[in-house]
């Protein structure tokens, strides 16, 4: 029996390699304690899932050992499995079984005594607020409800250690917050919780973190210790006149600047120690800009730890022909777009306009209707009602002309996995109608800009995620489109690659390219000029990031985050709906 002094999980020098690839985990050591939420933090491919699977005893390390609750995973996996609760990435639910049937199944598998069942089921169903849905098939639940049911199944026989693999993915922010509260309650009973995540804001809320990147452990300890490394080095520049994107680009190229991102109308900068921020601000944005210290965040520190973000120059944009910015006609336009699948309305009356040289964001959880709206606007889905226009062309009548003006980067970077980097470039150039000298010239240019030459012969599916994303961007912009459609463009990639990506996009926008982006990353919304919050198929709010945040500011929370704004606006819209129903 593990005493209170010894850790729940002891990881010692664990290495795991799959095939010929670089190690998924490389000499990782660390501990996980009871009564805490321990964040297993890192971008996709960092080794989080591999490490969790090893803790369940379902996967063995190549070298090193893992002790869970005092048992070695190699020798005693069965004993570990009776004492843990595990929720894998897709929640491990049987979709053809109802909520109650899933609970019954896991109760039997975990050996929950019959006598305890009524009380346990009642408690868990109340806890997860699923009481009304016990007869519904798990496949028919929303993402948030599935996740709660998955948690309930993992908690049936109160585990001592709860392992959650990316529980926050594909779930709306409200459910995510609920789940966090539930898990937090469990830790007060002494249960140890492992919560793996690629979201750095989740990491900030953990009691302790194991920070992983490309299989290596970068840090272990409380997150405040991570953010502590950039204490006093984070600033917010505001009061800028004119376009803010070139200012950010300039700032990133200044000596002493570690990292910089857009935050609505402001810019957030991380600088090296003892650097005069006021001087930098004056140099890049003029004298009337104010700089104020800001609360350091986990992401600032992570980027600092990785050696700082990329510079502000985009060779891609420099090689792009500038488009005239004087006409004020919208480049992308949605008028009352509606899509129905049977009796399900995926998108209802979506209307917005995007002027040239702006970034417009569709923000919302998975399944809210973002992708449906997006696909109608790039001509991949036929709307049930309303119309969409790109560069003045009606998507229904002049599909070909409209499509020639747009570049499309799909979710998960839909590249041809079995084609090499060079073949993908060649193929997409052909698809977008490039030929002859211009085709050769553009491919050569993309290869130079994104430094594809060393990887040209590799299959796209074998590329690291960051390179895949670069290749997808190159393929989408090869024909110099006027409008760029980005569907979840930075999902799962590390913060450095994400910054590099936005440096290119920001610079392209300055050249007159118009961008429509979907994202469920609240932070990413800050790069947009305007955003539309999509929830349950409807646009519930539209405005600039600062406007949306300001609209929900209260005396208790004068500086709400984008996520706070989202939650407040969703709750307001639900209250409206209920009021409407009551009135009817």
């Amino acid at each position: 029996m593990a005493g209170p002094a010894s850790p729940f999980v002891q990881i010692t020098g664990v290495t795991k390699t799959f095939g010929a690839a670089a190690p998924a985990l490389d000499h990782v050591s660390g501990t996980i304690e009871g009564g805490h939420i321990t964040g297993l933090v890192g971008p996709d491919g960092a080794g989080k899932t591999t490490l969790i699977r090893m803790m369940t005893g379902l996967m063995m390390p190549d070298s090193g050992t893992i002790d869970v609750l005092g048992f070695d995973t190699r020798r005693d996996p069965a004993r570990i499995q009776t004492a843990i609760g595990y929720m894998p990435q897709r929640f491990g639910l049987y979709e053809d079984l109802s909520v109650q049937e899933n609970l019954n199944l896991y109760a039997d598998l975990r050996g929950l005594p019959r006598a305890e069942r009524p009380a346990t089921f009642d408690e868990l169903l109340t806890f997860t607020d699923l009481k009304r849905f016990t007869g519904r098939l798990a496949g028919k639940l929303s993402g948030g409800m599935k996740q709660k049911l998955g948690l309930a199944c993992a908690l049936l026989k109160k585990p001592r250690l709860l392992l959650l693999d990316e529980p926050g993915v594909g779930v709306d922010p409200i459910s995510r917050r609920d789940l966090w509260k539930m898990v937090k309650d469990l830790t007060t009973e002494g249960i140890g919780v492992v919560w793996s995540t690629a979201y750095l804001d989740e990491a900030e809320a953990c009691d302790r973190v194991l920070l992983l990147n490309q299989g290596k452990l970068l840090f272990t300890g409380p997150p405040s210790e991570v953010t502590g490394r950039v204490d006093g080095r984070v600033f917010k520049l505001s009061g800028m006149t004119g376009r803010r994107r070139p200012i950010l680009a300039k700032a990133l190229d200044q000596d002493g600047v570690v990292d910089g991102v857009m935050q609505g109308a402001s810019i957030r900068l991380v600088v090296e120690p003892k650097v005069d921020v006021a001087a930098i601000a004056a140099a890049v944005a003029g004298a009337d800009v104010t700089s104020a210290p800001a609360q350091p965040r986990f992401e600032d520190a992570f980027v600092d730890m990785l050696g700082g973000g990329p510079g502000g120059r985009s060779k891609l944009a420099e090689a792009t022909t500038a488009l005239p910015t004087d006409d004020h006609k919208p480049v992308i336009e949605a008028r009352g777009l509606t899509k129905k699948f049977g009796d399900f309305t995926a998108a209802q009356d979506i209307t917005f306009q995007i002027p040239r040289g702006q970034i417009f964001g569709l923000l919302g959880p998975n399944g809210a209707g973002k992708s449906t709206t997006f696909k109608m606007l790039c001509g991949l889905l036929k709307p049930t009602g309303g119309e969409g226009r790109v560069a003045g062309f009606d998507l229904r009548r002049d599909t070909a002309q409209a499509r020639n003006r747009l570049g499309y980067m799909a979710q998960k970077f839909s590249l041809y996995g079995d084609l090499s980097v060079a073949q993908n470039l060649e193929f997409f150039a052909g698809v977008y109608g490039l030929s002859g000298a211009r085709k050769r010239e553009r491919i050569k240019l993309m290869t130079e800009i994104f430094d594809f030459a060393p990887h040209a012969a590799l299959s796209a599916k074998d590329l690291p995620l960051g390179l895949k994303q670069r290749l997808a961007l190159a393929c989408a912009v090869m024909h110099e489109p006027e409008a760029l459609f980005l569907d979840e463009p930075t999902s799962g990639v590390d913060p450095i690659t994400r910054r590099e990506f936005w440096t290119h996009i920001n610079a392209l926008v300055e050249k007159g390219v118009t961008v429509l982006v979907t994202t469920h990353f609240m932070d990413e919304a800050e790069y947009c000029d305007r955003i539309s919050l999509i929830y349950r198929g409807r646009s519930i709010a539209l405005g600039s990031p600062d406007e949306l945040k300001a609209s929900v500011a209260t005396t208790e929370n004068p500086n709400p985050t984008m996520e706070d704004a989202f939650i407040a606006l969703v709750q307001a819209s639900e209250a409206d709906e209920d009021a409407g129903k009551a009135a009817a």
């Binding site: 063995m60 004993r79 595990y86 894998p88 929640f91 491990g92 979709e95 053809d96 050996g111």
Partner: protein, 382 residues
């Protein structure tokens, strides 16, 4: 150890876990349209196809008939061919007229009644007729040959009776026992029941296990106290019962709707089917343990189980007429042991020595599959 699961006899937990897995699987079979499709719709489709559509009987086969010299005897024989319900006759004077027709398949065979026929017949020397068939289509070829012989034999007998003369010697005497009408449906339908059980046992089983890997549910239940043996058993029992149910449905239809005779015992039918499901299920589990992917699993199941059950089992093609190497390969095809036994149960009756041998071999092949599948289904993800 303070954990109660290890201190008290955990027998009850074991049974409870197994029952839970079986219950879950049953719900899934009932609610999942694809398992209904494979276990009920596909078998019915196959059965109707073999019951009505596919027939290996030579009904109205087009042939070219060459009468080299027209005498009353040869004309009489020619008339017999024309009257036969097996042949549609095109008349000619010279075999060369039909060469191209045979090549492109406008006729399935050429029958030549030679100029010497009448003389031989009159002299009571065994008269000869020539049958030219397309050897690239051996099934049709052998049917044309057999039926032509039948027509000649019938004609000779009738002729002998009429003229009360001594009947000339007939070269071949064929008698068909147990399926005297020679209706191919009667041996195709029992055979197709073996195919149906292959579909349920191997294809469906490999699909449902692979699906659990794809949907991540396998990972979740593996992280519970359930053992690898319980997991396997929880999959086997429901699909074993489903396989027998599918078989029962097919037998019922075969007897009631198609009037296929059933001369053996129900016990023999179920004993043989149950023994066959052991290798079928074992193969299905092995495939899914090795692939963990529905698409690959279905391809492998079709190629390694479904096609051999069709082609290498003696169902459509005689094993004795296959090349020696292929004959060796058929030794490990479980359907090869089931199909002749099933046909015997339907058309002849119980022949227990034959059934006993078939059951023993099928169980042996099944045991091998299970041992390999067991070794591959440890509670490990990679």
């Amino acid at each position: 150890m303070s954990d109660p699961a290890f201190t008290r006899p955990e027998h009850r937990d074991r049974i409870r876990r197994f029952a839970a897995l079986v219950r879950k699987e049953t719900y899934q079979v009932i609610r999942d349209p694809s398992s209904i499709l494979i276990a009920i719709v596909l078998p019915l489709l196959l059965l109707f196809l073999f019951g009505y559509g596919v027939s290996l009987d030579a009904t109205r086969t087009r042939i070219g008939l060459v009468v080299e010299s027209a005498t009353s005897v040869t004309q009489d024989l020619a008339a017999s061919f024309q009257a036969s319900r097996y042949f549609e006759v095109v008349n000619g004077r010279d075999r060369r007229e039909f060469e191209e027709d045979l090549l492109v398949g406008r006729v399935r065979g050429i029958l030549v009644i030679p100029a010497t026929f009448a003389a031989d017949f009159a002299a009571a020397r065994a008269p000869k007729i020539q049958v030219i068939v397309d050897g690239s289509d051996p099934n049709t070829a052998s049917f044309v040959q057999n039926y032509a012989q039948g027509v000649v034999a019938t004609w000779a007998a009738l002729r002998a009776a009429e003229t009360s003369a001594r009947a000339p010697t007939i070269a071949v005497e064929q008698r068909f026992w147990f399926n005297p009408e020679l209706t191919s449906r009667n041996f195709l339908v029992p055979g197709s029941i073996a195919i149906v059980m292959t579909l349920v046992g191997t294809l469906l089983t490999s699909l449902v296990v692979a699906r659990e890997w794809e949907r991540g549910t396998m990972e979740a239940i593996m992280a519970t106290p359930v053992t690898a043996g319980e997991l396997l058993a929880g999959k086997i029992l429901p699909y074993f019962i489903l396989g027998l149910a599918s078989m029962s449905l097919c037998v019922l239809l075969a007897v009631v709707l198609f009037g296929v005779p059933f001369r053996g015992s129900i016990l023999a039918l179920y004993a043989l089917s149950a023994a066959f499901l052991v290798p079928a299920l074992g193969q299905g589990l092995l495939i899914s343990a090795a692939t963990k992917n529905q698409f690959l699993a279905s391809q492998l199941a079709l190629i390694s189980a479904f096609l051999p059950a069709f082609l290498l089992s003696g169902f459509l093609f005689e094993i004795n007429s296959m090349p020696t190497v292929i004959q060796w390969v058929t030794v490990i095809v479980p359907a090869r042991y089931l199909i002749p036994s099933l046909q015997t149960v339907f058309l002849a009756g119980d022949v227990w020595p034959m059934f006993g041998e078939a059951i023993a071999v099928m169980l042996l092949i099944g045991a091998i599959f299970f041992i390999v599948a067991w070794r591959n289904t440890r509670k490990r993800i990679a």
